[in-house]
């Protein structure tokens, strides 16, 4: 409980500190809006030209897009400590100070940054979700709402795990690995579209190794009434938990790696 209070307190402080420069904040938030708006416009224009993608109509595609943007940018907004400059903390040896304090390292990293500029990206995602749900005439029931909440939550945890990979690499080799971006930002771009868009190797990558398909697409497809697989309902509920399992594995690796942590010093 104490940890959560600490986290909420730091979030409040971090967001307030960013609002100290209102003009700069406003411009950057606007830039985020244009960025995510541009991505959504690309989907709209593609739908306008091609009308559908496999069995998915316009509404379905907007829904998947919205699901991904809301999940990804909620994570970037409130987990910026991990998705932002975690590798940088390791590389520069700034992580040392975290080791001295009586709290877990990951907790402190989570509390170290927030990115409220992403609020406009989240808004675009919500618009896409509402638009998609209208066009696809989703019949909202309590368990569908809960399933979507579970998908977004587990998806966020998965994304946090993916961003931690680079930090782990940094502990062993000080150089940062740009390649991990293929999984994080690449995963976001790819999984804005349902997984059956892709050829087999990419499907395997985003189902088994970075399970975006299990956390977002399986529940999303069920909510849309067009399940991806003939799975019983309980399996659909279990499937997003793979994000949490993924995070747990990465967290374990991180704890192991921390034993090897040698500060780079100054």
């Amino acid at each position: 409980m104490n940890t959560i209070r600490l986290y909420l307190h730091s979030m409040r402080m971090l967001i307030r500190s960013q609002l100290e420069y209102p003009l700069s904040f406003f411009m950057q938030t606007l830039a985020q809006l244009v960025m995510e708006g541009g991505e959504m416009m690309a989907v709209i224009l593609l739908v306008d030209r091609f009308e559908h993608l496999n069995q998915w109509g316009a509404g379905d595609l907007y829904f998947f897009f919205g699901l991904m943007s809301v999940t990804f940018y909620l994570t970037e907004c409130f987990g910026r400590g991990i998705t932002g400059n975690f590798p940088y903390l390791v590389r520069t040896g700034q992580l040392d100070t975290f080791l001295l304090r009586p709290r877990g390292v990951l907790t402190q990293v989570m509390c170290s940054a927030a990115d409220p500029r992403r609020i406009t990206c989240i808004a675009v995602g919500i618009v896409a979700l509402v638009l998609g749900s209208r066009l696809s005439a989703i019949h909202w029931t309590l368990d569908r709402v809960l399933l979507m909440a579970e998908a977004i939550l587990c998806g966020s945890v998965l994304i946090l795990g993916l961003f931690m990979i680079e930090a782990i690499f940094c502990i062993y080799s000080v150089k940062s690995i740009e390649l991990v971006n293929a999984l994080t930002y690449g995963g976001r771009s790819a999984c804005e579209y349902p997984i059956d868009t892709y050829p087999r190797p990419l499907r395997v990558l985003f189902t088994v190794f970075a399970p975006f398909a299990l956390t977002l697409h399986v529940p999303g497809a069920v909510i849309l009434g067009k399940p991806l697989f003939d799975w019983p309902m309980w399996a659909v509920w279990v499937s997003p938990l793979s994000g949490i399992v993924f995070f747990a594995v990465i967290r374990f690796c991180f704890q192991r790696a921390m034993r090897h942590y040698r500060s780079t010093g100054s």
Binding site: M27, Q28, G38, A190, T197, L202
Partner: protein, 263 residues
């Protein structure tokens, strides 16, 4: 002229220093290219279009390969303005605009050629319907090379105008981000301009952003017929002259009100 040439060479050499770091970036870019191609392939399977799929996949690969031409900026100038060491640049017997123009051009050219070579080689090896097609005709290829060169001049002029804005305020990240995004969208990086609604294309292709990569790519794939090529190049030349002229005036105005920070 010699001074500008050596500024260009110095910058080129600097850009060549980080070849190792480039590799990771290239692999990432290739991955993004594959994802985009897979999406367009799936869309095409549902509803084929007037132009063949290989045009779109070639468009994607050429955009990815020359990505660095769009997004490369000179962070040094901003630092110099912030710290006041811009004074050294003002002492040089060179035109400030010209000096930064050749620097950014060297950076954009070297950076994108360094990345384009391995990426285009990879894209050529991909099977039909995934990779990069051969140019539609030798003449078209020659026109597209000329177009690419003009695109480079044009994008350097655009970048200098963006820098002109950053000279006016000390924290210009927002402004810069906005202008860059506008460029990414209207240059066809996010979505190929050929996939925009046809009525939009008539306007968008006339904007300066379409001159950077879209115009040369269309010449390469043969989307633009050879007979129309001189007209396209004329538009590119006009925009380059216009943007360079506007940039020079803008920088001159900026230079008059520049304040040296220091202490």
């Amino acid at each position: 002229m010699k001074a500008y040439l050596s500024a260009f060479r110095m910058r080129r050499r600097m850009e060549l220093q980080y070849r190792g770091a480039v590799l990771g970036g290239v692999i990432c870019q290739v991955f993004f290219g594959l994802i985009l191609v897979a999406v367009y392939r799936a869309m095409y399977a549902g509803k084929p279009q007037a132009f063949p799929l290989s045009h779109i996949t070639s468009y994607v690969w050429l955009q990815q390969a020359f990505f660095r031409m769009l997004l490369a900026s000179d962070p040094e100038l901003l630092d110099k303005i912030r710290t006041g060491s811009i004074a050294y640049d003002l002492c040089r017997p060179l035109n400030l605009y010209g000096f930064y123009y050749v620097r950014i051009m060297a950076q954009k050219m070297t950076g994108s050629l360094l990345r384009a070579a391995p990426m285009l080689a990879f894209a050529f090896l991909l099977p039909e319907g995934w990779g990069l097609m051969l140019p539609a005709s030798p003449e078209g290829f020659a026109w597209s090379l000329a177009g690419l060169l003009l695109g480079l001049l044009c994008v350097s002029a655009l970048e200098n105008i963006t820098m002109g804005f950053t000279m006016r305020t000390l924290d210009s990240r927002g402004m810069q981000a906005l202008l860059n995004l506008l460029m990414m969208i209207l240059a066809g990086n996010i979505l190929p301009l050929t996939l925009f609604p046809d009525s939009w294309q008539r306007v968008i292709t006339l904007l300066p952003y379409a001159q950077l990569l879209d115009a040369p790519i269309r010449l390469y794939t043969g989307e633009t017929p050879l007979s129309a090529a001189p007209g396209i190049l004329l538009i590119q030349i006009l925009w380059t002259l216009l943007l360079t002229g506007a940039g020079i005036l803008f920088w001159q105005a900026n230079q008059k009100r520049i304040e040296i920070q220091g202490g």
